[in-house]
């Protein structure tokens, strides 16, 4: 893959915590188990009804699910390492993605409010997510997997900068 990213040059990205890889992998494992269980239902049903080996298509479904899940699981560490943010003077930059890359800029003056959320798994790893909201619902500016202290600092920093550069709608 040609690996020239679309990031603006000369930005010092702050990366999220490597522990977030574990959080994502745990979520991925749970999701994969569920998907495998559901996709294996035909297999069990057919195995119960017909004596002998169940037909091949019934095997194919869970196999395909597993293949996709493994591929996604392999991507997770790279995806997490691809998440980054940078605080500039006027705005916050957030990047994410390897295949589908996205670089977003959110001006401090446009922030309506900042969310800090912690799920049970994230809490166990001492992580938190920060989400910025502007007047536009298209602004999907979330930074997951921040260490709790960094999340609190970022929230305070963003609020202070938003206050200083407050603009209307």
């Amino acid at each position: 893959m040609p690996s020239e990213p679309i990031d603006p040059p000369g930005i010092g990205w702050t990366r999220v915590s490597p522990r977030y890889i574990t959080v994502r992998l745990l979520g991925w494992a749970a999701g994969t188990l569920l998907a495998l269980a559901v996709s294996s239902l035909p297999l069990f049903l057919l195995a119960g009804m017909l004596p002998g080996f169940p037909p091949v298509p019934a095997w194919l479904l869970p196999a395909a699910v597993l293949a996709v899940a493994l591929w996604r699981g392999l991507l997770i560490p790279r995806q997490v390492r691809a998440i980054g943010y940078a605080e500039r003077d006027e705005d916050l930059l957030i990047r994410s993605g390897i295949f589908f890359q996205r670089v977003m800029v959110v001006p401090y003056g446009r922030m309506q409010y900042v969310d800090v959320s912690v799920g049970p798994v994230e809490r166990a790893f001492g992580l938190a997510s920060v989400k910025l909201h502007t007047a536009s619902p298209a602004t999907n500016a979330a930074i997951p997997g921040l260490p709790a202290a960094e999340a609190a600092r970022l929230r305070e920093q963003l609020s202070a900068r938003g206050q200083a550069r407050l603009a209307g709608l």
């Binding site: 295949f99 977003m104 003056g109």
Partner: protein, 530 residues
């Protein structure tokens, strides 16, 4: 508009310091609930008529049954009317210098308060029945994108208009005569354009609805021929209903469309049965799009839509409310663009916007997709592109369904660069600008990755600069950085200009100047400073 009503109780709907509470017009429940009443009348009336036409004596024969029917009807009616009356009695509103407050609800009380200077738009709506009673609903929108912040249904039309003028005057920051605070003059307005009825009919006929109808008719004909069963043509029926509804909704909302400009912003009026008058104060338009369905190219017509915070996309009549111009010629489009963007920020706005409307290539300063994209977008690659003026970003797209989106720099919320695997291989990227909820989706598609990155940086800088120089929320106040505070104060204390006729011709001249002669910097602050 407000003449000699000097007494404390005379101007019933004026914002006052005392904070008098008002109720909406007593007929309102009837106007709102007429459908339920009509349904009841139909249900019981039909029963009665049938009895009558069977030749029986309606009151004598089966007297018990009729009695019960009448009693049930009366009970339901009483409940309904009682409910309406209670809700009317418990709904009160108050307009003060800074806020509008509404309390409503019988069991679950609700108290709502909205800041006047946060107003995004004010509508005066008159459904058919309300027009008969000369009543109107006043809708006050703030940036929420959900339901209207404040809906006052219904007020006498004159009161609604006066209240709108008062709210806009307070929101604009006009200092009123302290002796008569209720005398908020209606801002003078200057008509800009109206859409002839014939053009509305023609536009409906040439719209995408007709294309759809032709496609369905062709499919039905093919089906009939293939199956040799004329009954197969019946599949046309549901499509016909949909098409009829499409024509009707376009015609009824675009009918008698008129636009005007006043110091309080853009005024739009339209409607066949239900009429609506919208006021969008200056600087409240977040994004505007000019689009052209393929068949409209024959006549050179365009449609304009806007994103205004508070209008949203899901609310009732959102499609009509977000329409800035249902169908117009290129001259109309240029005039409306001049209203939305008083300062186009370029030397030759006509050429730039014309290139955006139906130009291709780099005419007008547009930067398009690189030629290597012709394999992916054989028609659109010459159109896909952007151009930046000093005040706005122009985004052009579509070869068949042409569209031009204009976003003022100071209205950019946030933005994002996107690039998928295929786009990376081709060395292109997309830029999306985020704006408030609405029908306009500003984005630049498939431009060279290096150019996209440059645009991303430049646009962030331009938006930041525009925000710093942004105009105040109270649009007739002088901006804070314009001068020492005493100057700003003086500017506030000149309501006479607003009431006098002086503003209208000047505003008009500025508008047409923006259209033909070029930008006049600072035009937006003219009204306030005098």
């Amino acid at each position: 508009m407000s003449t000699a009503e000097g007494g404390p109780a005379a101007g019933p709907l004026a914002p006052d310091a005392a904070g008098t509470w008002h109720r909406v017009h007593p007929v309102s429940p009837l106007v709102r609930g007429w459908l339920a009443l009509a349904a009841i009348a139909y249900f019981f009336g039909r029963d009665w008529f049938e009895t009558l036409f069977r030749g029986d004596q309606p009151w004598a024969a089966s007297g018990g049954r009729i009695g019960w029917t009448a009693a049930a009807a009366a009970a339901v009616l009483l409940l309904l009317v009682g409910g309406y009356l209670l809700s009317w009695w418990f709904t009160r509103f108050q307009v003060t210098k800074d806020h509008v407050r509404v309390t409503s609800g019988v069991l679950f009380r609700q108290h709502r308060q909205a800041r006047l200077d946060r107003v995004q738009a004010i509508d005066i709506v008159q459904p058919l029945l309300a027009r008969i009673f000369a009543l109107a609903e006043l809708k006050f929108e703030v940036a929420d994108a959900g339901e209207s912040a404040v809906r006052l249904a219904y007020l006498p039309l004159a009161d609604a208009q006066r209240l709108r003028a008062a709210i806009l005057a307070h929101a604009a920051g006009v200092e009123l005569d302290p002796a008569h605070p209720e005398e908020a003059p209606e801002a003078p307005e200057h008509p800009v354009l109206e859409v002839p009825g014939g053009r509305v009919a023609g536009a409906a006929f040439l719209s995408g609805t007709t294309v759809f109808l032709l496609l369905v008719a062709g499919a039905a004909a093919a089906l009939t021929a293939a199956l040799d069963a004329p009954a197969a043509a019946a599949v046309l029926l549901p499509a016909l209903f949909g098409v009829g509804a499409g024509y009707w909704s376009f015609f009824s909302t675009a009918y008698n469309f008129r636009a005007a400009i006043s110091p309080d912003g853009i005024r739009l009026r339209y409607g066949l049965l239900e009429t609506r008058a919208q006021t969008v104060p200056p600087g409240r338009v977040q994004a505007v799009s000019v689009s052209q369905p393929p068949l409209w190219r024959l006549k050179g017509w365009y449609r304009m839509r806007v994103n205004v915070a508070g209008y949203g996309v899901a609310g009732e009549n959102a499609a009509a409310r977000t329409t800035l111009l249902p169908v117009g010629t290129r001259a109309d489009v240029m005039q409306m663009l001049a209203l939305v963007l008083p300062d186009p920020g370029t030397e030759d706005p006509l050429a730039v916007f014309a290139a955006g409307l139906d130009g291709t290539g780099s005419a007008g300063g547009f930067q398009t997709s690189p030629p290597r994209m012709r394999w992916l977008s054989p028609l659109a690659w010459r159109r896909n592109g952007y151009a930046a003026t000093a005040t706005a970003l122009l985004m052009r797209s579509g070869a068949l369904w042409r569209e031009l989106v204009v976003v003022p720099h100071e209205r950019t919320q946030s933005m994002a660069l996107h690039q998928g695997p295929l786009a990376r291989r081709l060395g292109v990227a997309d830029l999306r600008l985020h704006t408030t909820v609405g029908p306009v989706d500003p984005r630049v598609l498939q431009i060279d990755a290096a150019a996209a990155r440059r645009l991303f940086d430049e646009q962030a800088a331009r938006a930041a600069a525009a925000r710093r120089a942004g105009r105040p929320e109270r649009w007739l106040e002088a901006p804070p950085q314009a001068g020492p505070p005493d100057q700003a104060l003086r500017a506030e204390e000149q309501p006479g200009e607003r009431a006098g006729g002086g503003t209208a011709p000047r505003g008009a001249g500025r508008m047409e100047g923006g259209n033909s002669a070029g930008p006049e910097d600072g035009g937006t602050q003219d009204h306030g400073r005098g």
